[in-house]
Amino acid sequence: MAARNRGVAGSTPTPGGVTGGSPVMSAVAPRRVARKATRRAPLAGWLMLAPAVAAYGFFVIYPFALGVQYSFYDWNGVGASTWVGFQNYLRVFTDAEMLGSIRNALVLIIFFTVIPVSVGLVLATLIRNIRAGVFSTVSQTILFLPQIIPLAAAGIAWSWMYAQTGTVNQILSTIGLGGITRPWLAEYGFALPAVGLIGSWVLTGLCTVLLLTGIGKIDTALYEAIRLDGAGWFREFITITVPGLRQQIAILVTLTVIAALSSFDIIYTTTRGGPGRETLVPGLSIFRIGFTQSDVGLASAFGIVLMILVLIVVVPLQRLSRESK
């Protein structure tokens, strides 16, 4: 995913990836013929794998190693570098600006993950019986539009929406809330939620459609049974819908949390971290420290920290979704 890098940026972990192979392989194992034949393939196999491993190694593993190396030096990108040990990491965890950007990224999880998944769940439950037709096709198309346009364009669209004379304030004035209009992206206390809601806008459609396909696979007999029991909407939701969608929810949470922690595109085209440091996020912080302040070591250290942060959030989620299988 991709989320959207991503777009949703593009890349996300494979829930079935690691485990998916083993049942297949063990199913193959007893078949003598197949096993014998596959064993003879190491050379051809390696030749087929080599380009992928080379591309990955050269443009992901190597830069990663380079980043780790830089993170232990004080280097301005041009001149000589000095070994500083763990000092850069220490600065990441003590500097108010960088800590603030991590905190902002965690706040964004509310808008990138909690809101889209909740709205998606409610909506998918309510329209689960919708018949396939023109209306549902058109809805699906519209819900997917935010996935198609670049996040940077979403940033531009919403900068205008939130402007003093923009659509948001216009609507507020129309419904009699003219008193609270303001340039949303420029005000302390409002800029971060405003930027967060752009993320909600991008991700809600994807969440809804994915949950809708998941809900279609839940046995309708379960719903009939609980209705006969006299259960209400809420109990039905908690006892059947949510457990039935556990895997989809785990996937969406993983995907959207990664999007929240790497929200460079939207921030860069809307607020550039402002006002002050209100909307500074790790991606933008790395960009600034590395290229504007030319502190390559510190920026690299922050990059590694961001990577670890994502893993800390994602790995437990993968465990959870695997258990639910």
Binding site: A2, R4, R6, G7, A9, S11, P13, T14, G16, G17, V18, R31, V33, A34, R35, T38, R39, A41, P42, A44, G45, W46, M48, L49, A52, Y56, F59, V60, P63, G67, V119, L126, I127, S139, T141, F144, L145, Q147, I148, I149, P150, A152, A153, W160, M161, T165, T167, Q170, W201, I258, F264, D265, Y268, G283, F291, G303, I304, L306, M307, V310
Partner: protein, 274 residues
């Protein structure tokens, strides 16, 4: 029965609200783009005298044609190479027994979680030392590597799902691994390959941070990366900025509307498998 009927009506209402909110920013862009270029636009209005000329102005002064060409070049570097490389690797990891394949698979899977922001600094210096900065190759090669975990996982998931009997039959007939791959497996992989191509096209076309960092001249970037150039150029004219941004997102939307079904399926599967 009555309960579920009320539920259905409520559901449609909520859906309609969500749909309106989804489309509002795009309509709002159009509204701004059609207002006089030299004035600050006002909210959502259908202007009495729509300035379609803004699109012409933005297209010309924004060098949109050149931008699109740069994007196409980068897409052509990334998509075909990634698809070919990943298809071979996906087959090898999904169907063959190779010493160390589990370790390699794990290495790719971990790569799925890496935010591009984390690697942007070292990639910049890597491209600098390769002398590729400010060329489409810098973005193209980096993206081939960065998309590789997803591409390989995607193709492997396809090949794992192909019934074993097929490859057994091929082997009984005496086909070598390469013959089996080309004559039996590849023809069956069409849908998986086209879906992967769609996703990679979209992600490359919309890629932002790499072109912004690696290519200094905005005209050589991907269209998405060039949006910052528009922001700089049209900071004084919101109508022109929105017109330019609309022009830039239109090709992707047109392609989406044509291949809608494939797109949605690819994106959904991409989310699940990815």
């Amino acid at each position: 029965m009555i309960g579920s009927r009320r539920e259905a009506i409520l559901g449609r209402l909520v859906l309609i609200v969500v749909l309106i909110v989804t489309i509002l920013p795009l309509v709002s862009m159009l509204s701004a783009a059609l207002q006089p270029a030299d004035r600050n636009p006002i909210g959502l209005t259908w202007p009495s005298d729509p300035q379609w000329i803004n699109f012409v102005t933005a297209f010309e002064t924004g060098n949109v044609l050149k931008l699109m060409m740069s994007s196409v070049v980068i897409v052509l570097i990334v998509v075909p190479a990634s698809v070919i490389i990943a298809t071979m690797a996906g087959y090898a990891l999904g169907n063959l027994r190779i010493p160390g394949n589990r370790f390699i698979l794990l290495a790719f899977v971990v790569g799925l979680t890496i935010p591009f922001e984390s690697l942007i600094i070292p990639i910049y210096y890597q491209m600098q030392s390769l002398g590729l900065l400010n060329t489409p190759w810098s973005v193209g090669l980096a993206l081939i590597g960065l998309f590789m975990p997803f591409s390989v996982a995607w193709m492997r998931a396809h090949f794992v799902g192909v019934p074993v009997e097929l490859s057994e039959a091929a082997r009984v007939d005496g086909a070598t691994v390469w013959q089996e791959f080309r004559r039996v497996q590849l023809p069956l992989a069409g849908p998986a390959i086209s879906a992967l191509s769609i996703l990679l096209f979209l992600w490359t076309w919309n890629q932002f941070i790499l072109p912004v960092v690696l290519i200094q001249d905005p005209l050589d970037r991907t269209v998405a990366g060039a949006l910052t150039f528009f922001q700089g150029q049209y900071y004084a004219s919101i109508p022109l900025l929105n017109a330019g941004a609309l022009i830039i997102i239109t090709p992707a939307i047109i392609v989406f509307l044509i291949f809608q079904r494939q797109f949605i399926r690819a994106l959904l599967q991409g989310a699940v498998k990815g």
